[in-house]
Symmetry: C3
Subunit: 138 residues, 3 copies
């Protein structure tokens, strides 16, 4: 069982995708879910879905850890033609997960109480992002 | 075949979980193992299990890369109510693996000679951590 | 269906392995591919395979983020006997993916247009690296 989820992004930040994935799995029994983001400038995260401050702080931290290409400390970058948010987006996409595997029991992901699934957009401009999903029943 | 491993942690650091996982897999034939940590402030690592200095250095490096919330350079954080170790724990949990997939041959993980599996605890206080495990025979 | 790919590396950098993996999968139908690097000083990346500047910039960024063990700011490291590139290699291997899971449709990985698979070598000396591969048809 395979599908693709599309997520419309409006700039850098975390976009929760837990619900459409849970709906797709509903009634599927036991098995294994695999997700893959089909881009090199966006990531998949499992993170806290209770306090939205966590999402803001994650964005703030990674923006500081990987400064924009026009920052003084980033002058060594070569891949700069597509804008100052481009190469930092590739770096963040290398550092953060591109695929996730989640065991499924009775059609539900065995996530912890506070875990939600997020598409982390690393580019400034709006994008339509695709997440490939694969479910295999046991 | 699914189970959950519980790991009692006593502060930040790496806790090896290779043995109970290997024992659970024993006799299971060929297939695929998937592990998922059910928390947003702990990670799963595959790392060197020979020299314990490696584990100490990993802890030291990531503690410097993601300083505590009361460090002067972290004043931009918003999610600070649960203590100065809380938001850095979420950041480290975003950066380091939450799920691992490992091929199994004749009931054994195809790990390299020096690879062990670790639960990386990012919080100061003791916790009981759960790792969900899924094995599917070929 | 399992195999191991061997990659001969000649120092730090990204080595593309998309082609041998695609060839191995050819004709395999639908299913799930899992890759695991069997080392604690090398990583697996899915990254842009169009502009080689991206690969150079990734190497440059991570070399700065995790300086060599003989850099003044890294004097806290203990695991230094095997050379100044050794412990930084473990740190990068902890931070970047060790396993990848990729859905397969009609014998092809569902990668995005610009996604290639790379072995990221973190050591200076030449190595022969092994990537374990597992494919399970649906």
């Amino acid at each position: 069982m395979q599908t693709r989820f599309e997520i419309a992004t409006r700039g850098q930040g975390l976009y929760e995708v837990t619900c459409p994935i849970a709906t797709w799995l509903n009634g599927s029994g036991d098995g294994l879910l695999t997700l893959l983001v089909r881009h090199t400038s966006a990531s998949l995260l499992i993170q806290e879905n209770a306090d939205p401050d966590v999402q803001r702080d994650l964005l703030a931290y990674f923006s500081r850890l990987v400064p924009r290409g026009d920052a003084p400390e980033m002058t060594y970058l070569s891949h700069t033609l597509e804008g100052p948010d481009d190469m930092p987006a590739h770096i963040k996409a290398a550092m953060l997960p591109v695929s996730l595997s989640i065991p499924i029991q009775q059609g539900r992901m065995v996530l912890g109480t506070w875990q939600g699934i997020y598409l982390f957009e690393h580019r400034d401009a709006p994008h339509t992002r695709q997440v490939a999903a694969h479910f295999r029943a046991d």
